[in-house]
Symmetry: C2
Subunit: 350 residues, 2 copies
């Protein structure tokens, strides 16, 4: 840790004093960057995930090109179900597909507990290699999908608009759902622990599909497993961030989940959120990613708005409220990063 030249992000996660607000953005290693697309043109998505050299290259790109204060390892949340024994395919234009989804006792039996070092060694290797390449410039974030989000993909088999199959599953086979969620949780904990062991300075749990649940179902099928995961992570001072998109109703509960940082999507009022849970956790977020389609004047105004709404003092990591869209102009993200760096200083003076 002491070797980090820029540890603003980590200090902000722990609500320690910083000179300015750190900034990174979700999906920063992604398609909006021509340099990313150049790598992607030579290898498919999963090959990139599984080739540490390529994963390292695209992970470091936004640090070099955009000036963000943290790197997040390039990978995919579905490597876990794959390591648990499911056959993952990425179909061009359709996204990830499991041709043999989990829907009953029979298919659930085929899932195995993962040995992250053995099964997901390529992720660990990418983390080590990225750490080396970063050479202390900024911290490196590891991540995983939440158990609920992974189960959703594993049961649906592919993207969905209505999520009929997973909802059907939890209402009609709740015991089996809980059983698998517990198994996934153990695998996710082991996976995140191994990422920390391999050099991750912080880890983020992405709960992409929490928002399809009613508050009551979130409390039954999602939150307990986020808590179980966090509880099971072997870590020293490495912070845990939880980002559960669309779960406005669960803010307080997430702040008590054991996470150090709660991510906010762009529909949340960061001022209200700080008032409600800011004494307990740091907050990450939450500019609407589509603001990056606007002029740089407008982007600056919006950046100032988020900083002002969070207000004085530490505990804020600037981010978007959702992953950056592929059709974003990189120059606008670069400008955003610059604006955060410039405009946030005044909120950190005594």
């Amino acid at each position: 840790m002491s070797k980090l030249k820029n540890d603003l992000f980590l200090r902000a996660c722990r609500k320690e004093k910083t000179e300015r607000t750190p900034v990174w953005v979700m999906r920063q290693a992604g398609r909006y960057l021509p340099e990313y697309r150049a790598v992607r043109s030579k290898a498919d998505f999963l090959t990139m995930c599984k080739t540490p050299e390529l994963a390292t290259e695209v992970t470091v790109q936004p640090v070099d090109l955009m000036g963000v204060d943290a790197a997040i390892i390039f990978s995919d949340i579905l490597v876990i179900p794959e390591a648990m024994g499911m056959h993952l395919e990425m179909e061009e234009g359709r996204g990830p597909v499991f041709h043999n989804p989990v829907r009953d006792e029979e298919s659930a039996k085929k899932l195995r507990k993962i040995d992250p070092v053995k099964d997901l060694g390529y992720v660990m290797q990418a983390l080590r290699q990225t750490k080396e390449t970063l050479n202390g410039r900024v911290p490196l974030i590891g991540f995983s999908g939440s158990p609920w989000t992974l189960l959703t993909y594993m049961v649906e088999g592919k993207g969905s608009k209505t999520f009929s199959i997973i909802k059907n599953f939890i209402y009609n086979q709740p015991k089996l759902a809980h059983k698998i969620l517990k198994e996934i949780s153990e695998s996710v904990s082991a996976y995140l622990s191994a990422q920390i062991e391999a050099g991750a300075d912080a880890v983020q749990v992405f709960d992409t599909w929490g928002g399809i649940l009613s508050p009551a179902d979130f409390s039954e099928f999602d939150l307990p497993y986020i808590e179980m995961v966090i509880d099971g992570i072997k870590r020293k001072k490495q912070p845990v961030i939880v980002f559960a998109k669309g779960t406005h109703y669960a803010l307080k509960k997430l702040s008590k989940s054991g996470a150090d940082v709660v991510g906010l999507d762009w529909t949340m009022d960061i001022k209200k959120a700080r008032k409600e849970i800011g004494d307990r956790v740091a907050l990450q977020g939450n500019l609407d990613p589509t603001v990056l389609y606007a002029s740089q004047d407008k982007i600056k105004e919006e950046v100032k708005g988020v900083l002002k709404h969070y207000g004085h003092g530490s505990g804020h990591i600037f981010n978007l409220g959702h992953g950056i869209h592929p059709d974003t102009d990189p120059e606008n993200l670069k400008a955003l990063v610059k604006f955060v760096k410039e405009e946030s200083v005044k909120y950190h003076k005594d």
Copy 2:
């Protein structure tokens, strides 16, 4: 009005005393019903909208078959952009498409203000015919998309995951966006007024895409036009319902929009919502539609939960928190309606 045999829905909209909680569900005239599919197999979707006999037939089906306390006219929100001059096509499996979306001054100029009676006479005819067929059994609801939701479709041209085009549009051509929103608002007011004139006992404004906006953008591009629409409706005692999905942050504002009823999606806590705005408006909602995939025991339990959370007294219209899914078993909706009727009585005793 006096001729209605069952006016529970209308009384609940006005927060007047009722003997039990009325119930209807969004998309109740829809694909989940075999009787609907039988009609649909003989005519495409738009033909059904434009043929008063067919629209009447499917509008009345859920009253006959499910026992709901209100009918909602079978139509589509996109008939307005079509009447404004856009060419609407329904592509099988892809949904509605405008091949010439509105993106600039040039294409915006082609939009014309509608004369609802002339341009959308088929909707008015369907309303009159449905009123006749219903013969006072239950009230009839008319509806429209909100200006923001209609603009989203008109600019995107089709469904979207990221809504890049509409966001780009409002950030880079805000003046044009406001100009079109104002024009749409006038058309929507005129349309809903004409629906009331043709016999609608209440009207609902569907704001399907409010939730893609940040709170600030919702206040700029969406809410003012919902207010403008409501303000412009010529009505006597006919209640206005507003349902803005995913706008948890705007509850209080919607309750001051001039609407008599605010619809809640399934992520909202109806108990909290009643505490916050229940003195001002009635509430409609908000069971998670996927609960209908569960067993009838579970459905009953969930119905009891929503009723209990709303609590004693009038001002609640039971509904789902989103349209019913096409793969729902009609028997389960029938059971839901029965449960609401039975279980709600005790909440309306003095």
